[in-house]
Amino acid sequence: MPATVTPEQLPPEPITQPAVPVPAGIPGRRPATQTEVLLSAVPGLGHLVRGEWVPGMLLLFGWGFTLSLAFLTRAKIGAVFTARRLPIDALVAVATLAVTALLLWAWAFRDLAVKSRRQKRLHGDSQWSIAARHFRKNRLAIAGLAVMLLLYLVTLVTPLIAPFDPAEQGNIILSRYLAPSLEHLMGTDKFGRDIFSRVLYGARISLSIGFIAVGISITLGTLIGAFAGYFGGIVDGILMRFTDMMLSFPRLVLLIVVIALFEPSIYIVVIVLGLTGWMGTARLVRGEVLSLREREFVQAARALGMGDWRIIFRHVIPNTMAPVIVSATLGIGQTILTEASLSFLGLGVQPPTPSWGNMVSDGRDALVNAWWIATFPGLAIVVTVVAFNLLGDGLRDALDPRLRT
């Protein structure tokens, strides 16, 4: 009996859909009219007229905030240009303000005039653009990113927005231990210094220490992990035993041992934090490299006669970057916590320089009658670390294909 197959018996045609939908231009966008583009002279107004409320309001508020900040601090800005010695700090702040305002303006124009006219893209999506799309859906992660950007922006314009000099001591009788008020938003400490200004300046210290230390440890960890994984054998054995050894000692204790032995200073803290934080990254990268080493593209590179160094730096390391970025983001949060702990113990940033850790430590003596001294710097740490953790989690979800939902 000939096997006749009627159409009914055939399995239904599988509905083929691309795993990730290719974006068709920018959906629901009509090109901007001339007036709308002209209205964007005030960023956000053009968007608002088109009924795009969220970007419109964000742009408008951002722009308004930048301008009013520039207006309110016009005296300080003027002083920057008339000062005899050029204050680099304040100059950077003014430049940041100007660049922020210009960027907002440029973005508003570009968004309306250029992006809406752009044709649908024909080429495929890269790993990064897929990740970016997943990341954008994660509201908490976006919030983390926003807080992080805001924090770095604030560190740049601190000299303009800090109401007082962080080291300025007030009248020892009249202005010490003042409770939070409109003049001193977070109160004053035992020397009459303004806590709010000190928290702002402390943000610079904490964020830059976190950033630089993690930069050092990420670089070191990636190199060690890549060499161990790529060369294998005895190199792997030695490097990984060393990593295990460093890992089998609590980091804080190791840090205390090393720092207590030198004069504590910001530089020592940064370097030592960087040199003791690379182990996790090294293990992560080694694991990735072990599997990358056997992939076809690496073997093809080898067959083409490329040297080991070129293969490592051009082909292997770039492919391990996704998990490294995640661990760096989470690492900055952890490093800020560790730095605060060290400063709290008196082994980190030294007292006249404000850092969140040593400010909490200052507040410890006056906990009963001046709770604000210890509370606000601690809250600043919590907010910062929460932001970095949210961002890191969001990046992890976006960059790891297994975690995408």
Partner: protein, 336 residues
């Protein structure tokens, strides 16, 4: 299994020796000297010289190292410069103080963390899940020393003030804890039950400060592991058999979800020891964390070596414990 254990313990020995050697050389090379605190204009340099000679600090470094290594291998930790006592006698007491704190914190971490994680997993994407996730992240991101200060502020200082103002509020006594130390003034005269209660009151705040961040971490792991199990076939089978939801969750799902959590037990030990440095300093708890900081600051070399050894050994033991527990709980894991 026994062979595996022996191999692991033997493998840990070079690791420990390596750490101790590095620390030995770092502390000896660094500037500073244990006799520095006796230096003042009234003490002649010859006396200091004699002290250095008595402590053996005038010998070349490699000789000191060999001497230290030899007595260390024989189990002799030496004599603490700072406390003027044999370390072998004082170390067990200090270690026990820290262990009390760490064990209470550990129990708290796992009980709280697991409960929160289970609730979150069972009610995935509900309001409770989202709120608990955020709260956990908040505690996870919190510096333990700051949280400790806030606990002291609220549950010790403010509670005391309130109690003094309103003596009739007896219930407030439940929320009032001592701010520092291990025992109250009249501790020696309490009965056994009173002693236990007193110790618990003293240990509660430090343990919470030490554990809350890690509890949040456990909750995250527990949620993930529970969710993974809940979506497996045997859970559907259990539901299909008509078992009650409670039996499904606690008898079938929980047991399997616990496997990855148990390994955390050993891995949290180093975190707790790190945290103990800060928490013990704040709460005036005479344990390892404070001992090591004091020893380093006083350049009390034998004490630094002894405390470092204990901490490193506990970390290695913790790792071993987590691997062994993993193999015991999950028969699918082979130690070979």
């Amino acid at each position: 299994m026994i062979g595996y254990l022996i191999r692991r313990v033997l493998g840990a020995i070079p690791l420990l020796l390596g750490i101790l050697t590095i620390i030995f050389f770092i502390i000896h090379v660094a500037p500073g000297d244990p006799t520095a605190r006796f230096m003042n204009p009234n003490v002649s340099p010859r006396v200091i010289e004699q002290m250095r000679h008595n402590l053996g600090l005038d010998q070349p470094l490699h000789i000191q190292y060999v001497k230290w290594l030899w007595s260390f291998i024989r189990g002799d930790f030496g004599y603490s410069f700072g406390l003027q006592q044999p370390i072998g006698q004082i170390l067990p007491g200090i270690l026990w103080n820290t262990l009390q704190l760490t064990l209470v914190a550990l129990v708290m971490i796992f009980v709280v963390g697991m409960l929160v994680g289970i609730v979150q997993a069972v009610r995935q994407y509900s309001l409770a899940d989202n709120v608990l996730s955020f709260v956990a992240l908040f505690f996870y991101s919190m510096p333990s020393f700051w949280f400790a200060l806030m606990l002291i502020l609220l549950f010790s200082l403010k509670a005391n003030q309130l109690l003094a103002m309103h003596p009739s509020w007896g219930w407030l006594g439940w929320f009032q804890f001592p701010a520092s130390g291990m025992t109250s003034v009249g501790y020696e005269y309490l009965g056994f039950g009173g002693k236990v209660a007193d110790r618990f009151k003293h240990i509660f705040l430090p343990a919470v400060a030490l554990g809350i961040g890690n509890a949040a971490g456990v909750a995250r792991y527990m949620r993930g592991s529970m969710l993974e199990v809940i979506h497996q076939d045997f859970i559907r089978t259990a539901r299909a058999k008509g078992l009650s939801e409670r039996a499904v969750i606690f008898k079938h799902a929980l047991r399997n979800a616990l496997i990855p959590i148990i390994t955390l037990l050993g891995l949290y030990l180093p975190f707790l020891l790190s945290g103990a440095v800060l928490v013990e300093t704040i709460f005036g708890w005479p344990g390892m964390g404070r001992a090591i900081v004091d020893a380093i600051l006083q350049r009390d070399y034998p004490m630094v070596m002894a405390t470092s050894f204990v901490i490193a050994a506990m970390v290695v033991l913790g790792n071993l414990l987590s691997d062994v527990l993993y193999a015991v709980v999950d028969p699918r894991i082979r130690t070979e």
